[in-house]
Each structure stands twice: as C-alpha cells, then as structure tokens.
C-alpha cells in the first residue's frame, strides 16, 4: 500500500472508530498532533487506536511507551506501521 493510501486509511479509521463525526479526513493534517485539544482525543482513546492498528494492519503495540511516539500524528503512525510491516 502506498504511503498516501495508508495515511488516508488511518485518517478514516480514526474518524470512524473514535467517533469524530464532525471531522473530515481533509481536516486531519499529516503532522497534526492526534492527541490534545484539536481533536479532543486523550490517552483513553489511545487504547482504542492501538486496538484498531492491530485489527486493520496486524501491527501490535504492546507497550504504550513504545507506542507513544508512534501515535503522535498520522505521519508518525504511518512510518511506524510501514517499518513494522517491513521487518
């Protein structure tokens, strides 16, 4: 899957699974912080996102410390998934 396709898929998953109904994929910048004020997501949402990453991409994030840098933005998550899938 191309990086752009992967990013689009990640954005759609975030919107649908974290119930961000009033947000369009275009509203999520590739480098926007996922957690914090902009989208109103917090560490409790991170648990769901970790599950969805495993469910959709087969990439398991066992340790939240390891996952924290990966979950910063769509770009970091894309890089993390790509790296894990290639190893």
């Amino acid at each position: 899957m191309l990086n752009t396709e992967l990013k689009e898929k990640i954005k759609k998953i975030i919107i649908s699974e974290l119930n961000l109904f009033d947000i369009d994929p275009l509203d999520i910048g590739d480098d926007d912080p996922l957690f914090g004020d902009k989208f109103g997501l917090d560490s409790i949402d991170a648990v769901e996102l970790v599950f969805q990453v495993k469910h959709h991409f087969g990439v398991e994030i066992k340790d939240m410390n390891e996952g924290r840098p990966a979950l910063q933005s769509v770009n970091t998550l894309t890089a993390y998934i790509t790296k894990r899938l290639s190893t």
């Binding site: 560490s43 409790i44 648990v47 769901e48 066992k62």
Partner: protein
Amino acid sequence: MIRHFMKMNIEVQIPFEHHQSAHCETGVISNLLSHHGLPISEAMVFGIGSGLFFGYFPFIRLNHLPLSAFRISTGGIMKRVCKRLQVRVKWEKFRNHQKAMDVLDQRLAQQIPVGCRTGAFWLSYFPRRLRFHFNMHNLVVFGKKGSDYLISDPVFPDPVVCSESSLRKARFAKGSMPPKGKMYHIESVPDQVDLPKAISMSVKEVCRNMLKAPIPFIGVKGIRYLAKKMEKWPEKLGEEKASLYLGQIIRMQEEIGTGGAGFRFIYAAFLQEVAPILNDYRFLELSLRMTEIGDHWRAFALMASRNCKKRASKTENYLEMADILRHCAECEAKLLNDLSAITPDT
C-alpha cells in the same frame, strides 16, 4: 581517588549506556547494573524484584479516585533485586538542597553514575503535556556540562539534558511522597550471582502474594473483588462517575509505564528468559499463557475505554467487563499455581 573541584565547574561525562525501558524503576536498575558489569534486562529486573501484583484499594484515593495497582510499591523492586543479587547500594538523603547538589557533583567527579528520585513534573525535558505530579520518578545522572546535567531517563529514547535549577526542584519536589533529595549509587556488584536462586525466590514470592493474600483487595482475590464492585458502579455511582473510575484503572494498567496490560507482558518476557536459565522449558509455555492473560487485560481495557467514551455496544457493559476480570483472575490463579509447582524451592 576523590577529585576536588569548584562548585558548578565540573565538566564530566561518564560513558554510560542508555537503554529505554517501559518503567523508570526497573529501567534505572537495569541500566545501572549493566554499567557495573552485570548485564540484566528490564524484564529480569522486574521478575527478580517480584514486581507482579494486583491490588484494588477503594479507600486509597489518587486524584480523588480509587487506587488500583498492578505492581508492588515503588522502591520494592530495587530493594528485592539488590538483596537477591547481593548488590550493595548506597542511599543518601538530604535536607540541604545545595549539599544534595554538591554531593551529586562529587559522585560524578568520581565517575559514578547516580540514581535520583525526582518529581517528574519539574524535569524540564518532559514535554508539558506529559508532566504530572509523581514524586517517585527514577533517573540516572551521568554527567555535567556547565550548569546542565546529562541524564539517562529510562522512559525517554535518548539521553536528555536538564538544567541545574530544574533538577534541584525535581529532587526536592513537594507533595505526596516527596523525594527529599534521595540519591543512590552502586557500591559493589558480586563477581558471580546466583541467578537461579534469585529467580526461584522471586517467583515464589509473587505466587504467595497473588494467591495467598490474607485480605480481599490483593492478588487474585483482589481482581475478583474489583469485578464484584465494578458490576454495581453504574447504579451506585451513576454513569459519569463510573466512567471516571474505569478511566483510572485503564491509566494505571496501560499508561503508567507498565509495559502494557498492567506489567503482564513484562512478566511474560521474564518467564521466557527464565526457561534457559533454569533449563526448564515449561517456563516458555507459562510465558505464552501470561501473554494471553495480558491480552485478556487488554480486552478489558478496550471495552472500558469504549464505555468511558460512550462508544460501547450494548453487550460491552459493566457486567461483561466484570466477567473479563473474573476470567483474568481464574487464568492468573491457574498459571501461578502451575508456576509455583515447577519453580524449584530455594
């Protein structure tokens, strides 16, 4: 030889290998022991320190919410590891802030990396949004350049720099369990350690604590106790407060440096390492079972997060969550009984 120096004028960088870890206490011990010629993984430190635990204490409040704990109390792992591996550690505590910083500089000048207890909130290298008032955060100071300290903070991927004023504030943070300038360094490590004996002692202690706790909030009983209480939260507390109680458990389980699933994944990694050391590959099977138990805890956390965020389906309710917890309790009881049976007596 002790080198004398002027205050604040030392320039020192001890060659210290930094490794990131899931948890600060286990990470610091692992890094310090490795520096002193006793390479040991974080998982092994956690295991030998008998870190695995469960406790639900509704009468102890953290941020006004009941406390749940997935590991033994802070400091307990270090104490046990050093005792079981016969590592001598020197602890120092200070009232005078300046003296605390001076003695730290002295140790650095002696090429001794120093562990410090700190209040994480005051450490300048912590991003603002990750700062919280926790006064038992461990780190290693391994150098000083000008008035900045070089720090190996095990929860960060790389070594960091902290100003003298921030570190001083962090070492003397006020509030609950203040660190009071506490610092420690390793004085000696034995030439040979009896790892099998240390492992056996630690495993037996975990099994005892988790299976035979005399009070209902601790160990496997504690997991069942939480399940029983949780079922009644919505009617007793209302949906909103029940969500806050759930959120607190998720944070303690998944977020506070647990390595995932409330330290269950770290303990699984420990059991995996134990197999070749005790030359008993039944530990590998138990490691896999512990990972599965961690997955059950994760399933609980996922359902709990959906309830907190009002994303849960009708079947993902408090009764279902309580059932998952009971299943975790049952699996942990079986595993720990099996673990106790195959672990040699010391």
